[in-house]
Symmetry: none
Subunit: 476 residues, 2 copies
Amino acid sequence: MTAPAPTDPVLAEVFSYLEQHGSKFVDDLCQLLRIPSVSADSQFASDVRQAAGWLVEHLQAFEGEGLEVELIETPGHPLVYAESPPVPGAPVALVYGHYDVQPPDPLDEWTSPPFEPTERDGNLYARGATDDKGQMLTHVKSVEAWLATVGKLPLQVKLLIEGEEEVGSENLEAFIANNTVKLACDCVVVSDTAQFAPGIPAITYGLRGIAYYEIHLTGPNSDLHSGVFGGAVTNPANTLHKMLAAITDDEGRIQLPGFYDDVAELTDREREQFRELPFDEQAFQDQLDVKGLTGEAGYSTLERRWARPSFDVNGIWGGYQGEGAKTVLPGRANAKFSFRLVPNQDPKKITASLRAFLEPLVPPGITMELIDYHGAPGIAMSLESPYIEAAADAIETGFGSRPVFMREGGSIPIVNTFAEQLNADVLLLGWGQNDDNLHAPNEKFCLADFHRGIRASAALWRQLARRKAEGGRREN
Amino acid sequence: MTAPAPTDPVLAEVFSYLEQHGSKFVDDLCQLLRIPSVSADSQFASDVRQAAGWLVEHLQAFEGEGLEVELIETPGHPLVYAESPPVPGAPVALVYGHYDVQPPDPLDEWTSPPFEPTERDGNLYARGATDDKGQMLTHVKSVEAWLATVGKLPLQVKLLIEGEEEVGSENLEAFIANNTVKLACDCVVVSDTAQFAPGIPAITYGLRGIAYYEIHLTGPNSDLHSGVFGGAVTNPANTLHKMLAAITDDEGRIQLPGFYDDVAELTDREREQFRELPFDEQAFQDQLDVKGLTGEAGYSTLERRWARPSFDVNGIWGGYQGEGAKTVLPGRANAKFSFRLVPNQDPKKITASLRAFLEPLVPPGITMELIDYHGAPGIAMSLESPYIEAAADAIETGFGSRPVFMREGGSIPIVNTFAEQLNADVLLLGWGQNDDNLHAPNEKFCLADFHRGIRASAALWRQLARRKAEGGRREN
């Protein structure tokens, strides 16, 4: 799967630069991967800063071509920011990525050390290879190629690379809210997800949201003997089961009043596209070792995972959990649970509905504490967006295949922030694979995908520049 | 509440010995309480054996007075057995107790460490203080007092003290079945329950049974990302809540088919006796810090606790239980739960009904493992037994008040075995209090009750000796 050389002579020149510098780009990526920029662990604080410094220095090589580069301090790890000069009439693209990585534990499960990038079978193994140093660097390298050959980009590109994605992006959230003029753009480009499958590149145009809770039910002031008290004293563990069971009916439909009112239904076009994806349900079951799947009636497995709300108990604890039989009536019972939300559902409304639903279910003798952890709405970009079309063309040029359009069941809270604060389309152009082991030992990135991603990114600037800037770009 | 000195000169002499040795008896109890004889946890196996050894050594001090002492090995923890010489014409009393204790968890809720007996406000705090080391020792000490003063007991007393009461008494069950001649007796005396209230000693004539289970629900082969998989992969924690919630209706009535078919209903006399007991429902709630009680409609709180079946979840665990929000779809969810049974209900029938009830509720993608831990039927003794009358007189002598007749919600499976295998009346003479925290942190035993219990036990030998041996004593 190699894309043919572009017929566009400007892009051909850029691609020729990419061809010549391919192995240098891998060396650059290895340099960055050797820096253990683990944001969650304060022991690595100076490494995280070193990774930011490496990026700044790398980008500063093109200050002569008008690229302005900044290291922006935050209360936490710094942001790396760069922008090319404005191009009147062309849209503005903001690239978002991150240079921090997950902790590498458990270390003994790595075949080669996490911070010594090692090539095996066409893959580069290292912590951060796919998440997100490798994917993020594709855009840095495409910018470099344009500047080194054409001398300028065909549209204004803004690069915003943070060091706290793996710990919640709190400081970036604040920075975006306070810098909507600086960051104003027509579309945001994020490469931090996966292709649909090997050979099937994808544009992810939708994400589910989340509403996450913890419930504590308190009954008697200590664990009681279930023989002496059972049957007369309300048992918080019995109550927990009644309450959580009441949240769904026997088909898994969520029973909170109004829960489905705002749910954006899938369009016929979307359902058809999902149906056409080569998803092997038996292989999916085999991989998970389960003998069957369940979910909301009337929807396929991909629809359930990507575009329908769901309810999952994430953890439970209370009473005696040790060996053998202990006859206690527990004083407390606890659970963590969450709803996955789809576009138009408002986590705040869900919380209010949940509270109103659960409160009448609390029986005499039990006190409920409900903790609202965090919420994010689901999001779906319009498939009619000219920028999505531009991205599809660019991917076809870079990868040699037209991408499929998919959604993801997880949440990327920062994507909501970009969409809401910058009023911009967000293009999730994932170059990774589903078995890249992100957040796990032996994280990897396919080197062919690295080079295809750089080509697709280089083509993206060309394709986006052909689309007119939208009137709606936020300037205040 | 101190009983007047007995007018009976023999008993007066015994009581005088008790008076002189009271503080020595407490020291002895503390020695035994310091041994962490937790039978449920194999880490404590040598401590359990040490407790048995302590008892044997303690009893061997009276071998000169004809007490024969044995350590009897079993496939599990050993039995301690002692018997005094036969007394023709007098009945034979078998004292049953246990030297093993419940696990002490949760450790951080103990004010003083569970295996460092500590006196506060007239109570001795330690794991096993009331259940059953303290109560069991009252009979050892009354035997000691008779032998040390009179030189012999007025009837034959057999002491049978086991180390597996908290894990189901399996080996003792087998021992009794194989040794009905050795253990032949007219009545069995057990002090492992509570008085009705402070100042109101009681004879417990009925116990609930139990059927205890552990359930493991297994879904996917590891914890999954609840965003990527939620809604399509069956969540074992969601399933657990559905299954356990289905066991009762909204009024707490157990839904297993046939569950209530064999339930022995309370007689009008029993219900009237219960109603006359000075039970303060508000004080009961206040003591537990609960704002209300719930239970089966149509029954009082005492009836629910003592004579109606119940369902309690005893422990739950699965998924993420740490700090904060982790979006996992857990691979497993687990619970321990139990039913309390009343006379005529058969635990084997309950297990069959439970299995038949749960199996159809297991959804595709989930595997259920149901472990049947142990079961025992409920029991109720006849209030007309002459030995119950003797016990009431002895308690009046020891405590200074006539006992009330009550039932208990807990189970002592071995009591069923004694009644069935030895054809003997079982006298449940509880010296504890309801707030003794048995099976919970800060277990305690009132030291005044310890001393009253010893006196009542000493008087019991005298009172029982005055009743003729029953013709029905089993000799085969």
